[in-house]
Symmetry: C2
């Protein structure tokens, strides 16, 4: 329904982006970095999920974290406090990281001692789904309070995901969230993605995530 | 940090958009429609908030609702079931409504018997903040589970808002949300916006919202 002008321009940019995404993948391969693009709405629990992951793995895996935000440095500060190598990226108003931004960040970030690299993308379920950053895997987080209908409303995000993690399952008794309906809504678009349910608060379901991560590395 | 190409193109599009937004405002003025652009993350409670508003006002105010989504028709169906005049807009992948889309929707929607028009924008805190739809007021919803730090991470959204509504305050005991810190985070960028706290579940705080709405109409 929007002006065709906008869409044409995006196509051009997307093609350039896809080439740069391949450069990112080559860079990571050469440096033995396994990179995960972590996407979610604001407040879905990306930062807490990462902090718990770092806590569980930091003695066995060298982890680096790139925090992308429109503004602020709160997340990178939390990561630094947790003792993990991290940088903050400001996207200058852009609603998602693209491959060029990712490549710039990789070049400025000392990744030579890192095995596993997380890119915490800008918080939303739209733009990050459209833009290949060059990551090896795409993980989408959705929290119970957001509702089980979100795969219907943001289909591309759930279509491109390799793994979908439902967070804050300790609040299942409080919110009206139907786990089976949620999986059904995903399967309409994505037959392959694994779906996990966990709580960073109670730790329930966290082992299954760590198992998948080990399988990937 | 992104390619300069993208930013230049956006400027051009934004200028065209601002002209069309004025046309939207003229259209609404001529037709006596007061239009509110409702913005929030996915799952913040926009649809429930609207349903409660409709329930409270439908005997005294003629309400129309435009539901904008990437895909799906679940929200417009809920509105129809509530007996309110509504249409579903699919943005074709765009992460926000722009003024041209809004004008098209207005032209297709029978607004002659409507006093108050809500545009439920695509769910995210980034793109809708950047794009003037031509609405008379901008209302931003944020739910308690999303966290009190969101004005730091999505500053433009909280800067452009005329009213900021914190939803799901019945869950304040469950989540770590500091109301004073939240207001402080807003005031760093926006001195004027009113800030309300409410729960559509218990009804607490809802009267204050209806008072503001009456003042606007």
């Amino acid at each position: 329904m929007s002006g065709v002008r906008v869409i044409d321009v995006n196509h051009g940019v997307f093609e350039i982006n896809d080439e740069i995404a391949e450069t990112v993948r080559d860079y990571n391969k050469q440096h033995n970095n396994f990179m995960i693009n972590l996407m979610a709405s604001p407040g879905a629990g990306k930062t807490t999920f990462l902090l718990k992951t770092v806590e569980a793995l930091k003695d066995s895996v060298k982890i680096g974290i790139m925090e992308a935000d429109i503004d602020a440095t709160v997340d990178a500060e939390k990561m630094k406090a947790a003792g993990v190598s991290s940088i903050q990226i400001h996207t200058g108003g852009e609603c998602a990281m693209d491959a060029e931004m990712t490549l710039q960040a990789l070049n400025e970030f000392d990744t030579k001692d890192i095995d596993l690299l997380f890119l915490e993308n800008v918080g939303n379920l739209v733009c990050p789904a459209e833009t290949d950053t060059g990551a090896d895997k795409k993980v989408v987080l959705l929290s119970v309070p957001e509702g089980d209908d979100k795969p219907l409303k943001y289909p591309l995000m759930f279509e491109v995901a390799d793994l979908i993690v439902v967070t804050k399952i300790d609040t299942l008794g409080y919110f009206d969230f139907d786990k089976e309906a949620f999986v059904r809504n995903i399967r309409a678009r994505n037959k392959k993605a694994e779906v996990l349910f966990l709580s960073a608060k109670t730790g329930e379901g966290f082992d299954a995530w760590l198992e998948i991560l080990k399988k990937w590395l």
